[in-house]
Every structure is written in structure tokens, then in C-alpha cells.
């Protein structure tokens, strides 16, 4: 069994955290950290506080390649991590559903898995070509991204 399992997916299917945990865990691992993004229904203080649904689309082949690039960057920064799973769900999702998962394993809980997962979700949101359209009680609109790619992204 490789000590650096990797799994990348852009999928319309529900994300199974148990399966992702099993995929990333090697016999060297005592720790797995998962960041899970969900469809938030209420954002107090926002101009439009209520979300009903989000619809995601992706430029799939590029998105998959960029997930792999995020994993490379995670390994460059956190050299004690072992397994990495990066999954973005697309399609129409209701409040509470899991949209994205970044799952990382390492030997010990004091290792790099927490920081690697945090870096991974931040980077995924910068460079993986996925877009979401929000449906609110008053209508729907595309959510605007705020990151401009730079050479090397």
C-alpha cells in the first residue's frame, strides 16, 4: 500500500466522508483531518441573509487537474502528510448538503494535517474552476469569485 494515497473527484454524487477517510488512511496514520464545506442557509449580517439552494458547475477536466495541483502544493508545504483526498461536488444542492471535502492523513495529531487541510481548502477556492449560483427567496444570481490567478496558478 502506498503511503501517499491520493483521490481527486469532481462529482454529482453525494460526498461520503467515511469512504474518503478510508481512502487516505495508511498504516502509518493515526490522524485524519477533514474540512467539509456545506451549503449555508443563513448568513447573519449579509445583505441577502437567506440562501435556499446552490447550483455548482465546473470546467471538469481543468478542475480535476487543479485539484491535483492543490495536492502537490500541500505536499510541498507540509512534508509529513500522507494521504490526500480532494472532492468537489457539482449540481444542485440544498442547505446542509456537503459540497466540498479536503481530507488529509498524517502520523500524529501534532503533524501537518490540520494546516494542510486549511491550506488545501483556501487554495481550492482560488484555483479550481468551479462556480456557484445562489437561489434566494428573491431570485438567483452567480456568486462572484474574488481571486485573480497569477502565473504558476
Amino acid at each position: 500500500m502506498t503511503t501517499q494515497p491520493e483521490y481527486f473527484d469532481i462529482t454529482t454524487e453525494p460526498i461520503d466522508l467515511n469512504a474518503l477517510q478510508r481512502r487516505v488512511t495508511t498504516p502509518l496514520d493515526g490522524s485524519v483531518v477533514a474540512f467539509v464545506g456545506t451549503v449555508r442557509g443563513m448568513t447573519p449580517g449579509a445583505r441577502e441573509p437567506v440562501t435556499e439552494r446552490l447550483e455548482y458547475e465546473a470546467y471538469r477536466p481543468m478542475a480535476r487537474a487543479k485539484l491535483a495541483q492543490v495536492a502537490v502544493e500541500m505536499r510541498q508545504r507540509f512534508d509529513d502528510i500522507h494521504g490526500i483526498a480532494l472532492v468537489q461536488r457539482i449540481g444542485d444542492m440544498a442547505v446542509g448538503e456537503v459540497v466540498v471535502a479536503v481530507v488529509v492523513s498524517c502520523g500524529h495529531r501534532g503533524g501537518g494535517a490540520f494546516d494542510a487541510a486549511r491550506f488545501g481548502i483556501d487554495r481550492l477556492k482560488q484555483i479550481v474552476p468551479v462556480w456557484k449560483k445562489e437561489t434566494r427567496p428573491d431570485g438567483s444570481s452567480w456568486v462572484e469569485g474574488d481571486y485573480t490567478p497569477r502565473p504558476g496558478d
Binding site: 465546473a58 481543468m62 481550492l124 474552476p129 462556480w131 456557484k132 469569485g145 481571486y147 485573480t148 490567478p149
Partner: protein
Amino acid sequence: MKVLLFATLKERAGAPRIDVRLDGATTVAAFRALVAAQHPTLGPLLPQALVAVNQEFAFEEDAISPTDEVAIFPPVSGG
């Protein structure tokens, strides 16, 4: 050449891809101007749009040739 559109650009064009006439290699900057001229409805979205060439982000001086896979889309908002 066929050019892929996503999100707001796809919605504005009413189609997931458009035809762009390109006579030989050019730059991303010049390509942006070509698309605006040939598809005026996309014009307002093009200045902020990102261009990907062969599934990599491309910048204004990067080259585009007619055989490349080119996509135009807004800044990403996934996750």
C-alpha cells in the same frame, strides 16, 4: 475555433460554447478583443473574465493558437 464558456459567460451567450474566428496564433489580450468584436453580448463580461488555454490559466501576453482548447469564465467561486 470552439471556445468553452462557463457560469455568467455561458448564461449570457445562451450556450456552453461559441465559435471564434482566429487567423493563426495570437495573444490572450488580442483574443479577448476578437471575442468582444465577434460576440458583442459578452463584451461587458470580458474585462473581468479569466482565460484558460489547454486547461491552464493564461495571461495577457500568453499565446493562443487555433488548435488550443480555450475557455473563458469568471473568477472561480467553488468550494
